[in-house]
Symmetry: C2
DNA sequence: CTTGTCTATGCAACGAGTTGCATAGCAGGA
DNA sequence: TCCTGCTATGCAACTCGTTGCATAGACAAG
């Protein structure tokens, strides 16, 4: 149920509607947690029913009204409780690694394009992260002194940057390996 | 449904029972895909029903009989089909990152122990990977020339090693950031 | 004036993954 | 002897997450 907690954190950083949350999950939060709008609406409704969130109807001009959610006292308490209990280190689900090992039973060369495509995605993400870092933390317009929240957001962002850099280097390694395999004539067994 | 494909790859590398697969998912395969034995048994049954797998009853002495699964022709074809379709780059689910951002609304210092615990887990995993690499690929007893399957297994393992190294470096960064925050007196606002 | 896009919310059905429990033979130690 | 632990398989219930679909107002382009 970590989606609950991700929503609590996001709403503490800034209250917002389900729609707005869904967009945040495509952006900053989405870099370490994903969720679709259906999931978000369902969870918001449940958490509101449980008294963890407060709602406020916000009429808007030029667009549909929205429900702005914010964290209520019990929500903050629930988050605090979660922060103090240990969690399991993440377990990966890496489809591409399965494919690479599977390629031994098919044509490894056919994987090159796929790996290159993934490389491009990681390269784009890295550029996006670096732009965000320059804008909010290290660039000319960024604040001189960061508060605790900003420090923590920055270190999480640095994690994303490190992850993308590591991914790029590894995918290059994978490509080199695939090329080496293609260049090596199969042993005349 | 990538669990299906992970199972196909694992059974192509070596046929085995559900129990054995479950143990592999705690070991090598488990480094990039996790599954419990219930999930595995259920999927094995379904795939056998679909004709993707063949079963063979193997009586054993001193322990219960087992069902040894192996990949049938249609299973191999299904894997090949999957290998040729593009997949989405993974989306992360990183609980710890949520916690770190959430700590801004609680006590950041309380997170130090948790982060240290995670650091230990990654450190252990790294040692385990490096031991496996030395045993199978780079150590004295390892084969001089690797075949395609071994090359691909090695590059996936190198990915795991790179991931753990990156994680350790980032967790050190997180710890340094937490200490810096604790040392900085809050601004007298 | 119709079509498409953006904001904004939601239902229903399905599939994937987790948790708890059950069974059963064999081995080894208290 | 009883209890624990390992191999080996499985059911049932539940939660989490995904996919497809629906609604509805405002605005811009054709």
């Amino acid at each position: 149920m970590a989606l609950d907690h991700a929503i609590l954190v996001s709403l503490l950083e800034k209250p917002g509607s389900g729609y707005e949350l869904a967009r945040r999950f495509e952006r900053s939060i989405g870099y370490f947690w994903t969720a679709t709008h259906q999931q978000i609406y369902r969870v918001l409704k449940r958490m509101e029913g449980d008294g963890l969130l407060a709602v406020r109807d916000v009429p808007q001009q030029g667009r549909p009204d929205k429900k702005e959610y914010s964290v209520a006292g019990p929500g903050r308490a629930a988050l605090s409780r979660w922060l103090h209990e240990p969690i399991e280190p993440e377990s990966l689900r890496h489809d591409l690694a399965v494919k690479i090992r599977g390629a031994a039973f098919d044509d490894p060369a056919a994987l090159v394009r796929e790996v290159e495509r993934h490389r491009q995605v990681h390269s784009d993400r890295l550029a996006h992260y670096l732009a965000g870092e320059a804008r909010d933390f290290t660039g000319p317009g960024a604040p001189d002194a960061l508060d605790t929240g900003q420090e923590l957001q920055h270190v999480v962002l640095r994690g994303g940057i490190a992850y993308e850099r590591m991914s790029l280097a590894w995918l290059d390694d994978v490509l080199a390996t695939l090329h080496r395999i293609a260049a090596t004539p199969p042993p005349a067994a």
